[in-house]
Symmetry: C2
DNA sequence: CAGTGATCTGCATATTTATGCGTTCAGGAA
DNA sequence: TTCCTGAACGCATAAATATGCAGATCACTG
């Protein structure tokens, strides 16, 4: 027996359907690909929820759903907290895919386009162990004066990963 | 000495500034709040990168940057893989904040509006241990026939968290 | 090199999203 | 009750974003 009593949304006064509607939006969006607010509006209409696009624009903002190439998606809580971290921490978590030492050098791998911002973030720290950085498209070369310094930089970066 | 040789973007032929530009976009966007493509266009112009809004629209898509109330943000790799996970896994990771047992019941806490989709996802599994679910706004009550079943459901949900 | 296909980009415009303002109504306070 | 106040919402439209198409340049290939 599935009880499945969705929506006792009426408990705050039947007038406002906002809470119930937003729940349905979340449900819809996590299940299927919805690529525009107007499409969402039509899907909701099938559930007897009639609202305008304007209202959906407001709902989506409140629910922190963002438009991606694959439709609206929740901006995970993880991604959010990210915004308040120090620049280097953010950059490392966002872009650093791989890290390999080579004598006094450190080779960092990132997704395409990620090298520039990662290198910028490292430069921003002004660590004295860093002689310089060279950033391509998906690779950053960090140059240290000697192996000992390289090891220290490596340790710090690895610490930031989690 | 900071070498900081950004941008040897010319390496594939000077003509295309795409790679370099996208690197700068990433850098800009992770550092400051950019709320529209036109604003981004103006910031880039200060770096001597002159492109139209149309190009930025394409860049942002390629870089998987999404528009949020606080400006454009990277859709973290984490959030992405999420899209391909089973519905219940997604729902749990996205919405489940807290989980507490009470005899044969399980009380799940979610952010506002998250209860409906989470309950729907649980229902979708059609587990025989689940007698039914009741979803409010930020709370789901999962009803099991007895404590043993509740423990099993709890175990499965906890497994999904990570 | 001439030819071919792929990529990048701008332009113009279609499509989509955001928002100022006005209305309605629920929930108090008096 | 009657009068507030604030939330929810639609309407109209402004603002922002996406895209079809065409021109330009590059990377190859023969």
């Amino acid at each position: 027996m599935q009880i499945t009593a969705y929506s006792y949304a009426g408990c705050l006064g039947v007038r406002t359907q906002k809470t119930y509607r937003q729940g349905q939006i979340l449900k819809l969006v996590t299940r299927e690909r919805v690529t525009s607010q107007d499409e969402l509006r039509r899907r909701l209409r099938q559930l007897d929820l009639r609202v305008t696009q304007a209202t959906l624009s407001r709902d989506l903002r409140e629910l922190k759903l963002v438009k991606t190439a694959e439709g609206y998606k929740p901006l995970s809580a993880v991604a959010e907290e990210t915004a308040s971290l120090p620049p280097l921490t953010r950059a490392v978590r966002e872009f650093l895919l791989d890290l390999r030492p080579a004598q006094n050098l450190l080779v960092l791998k990132t997704p395409p386009g990620g090298a520039q911002p990662l290198a910028a973030a490292i430069d921003g720290e002004r660590w004295k162990e860093v002689a310089g950085t060279i950033a391509g498209d998906d690779t950053v070369l960090v140059i240290a004066p000697h192996r000992r310094a390289r090891a220290e930089i490596q340790r710090r970066l690895e610490d930031l990963i989690r």
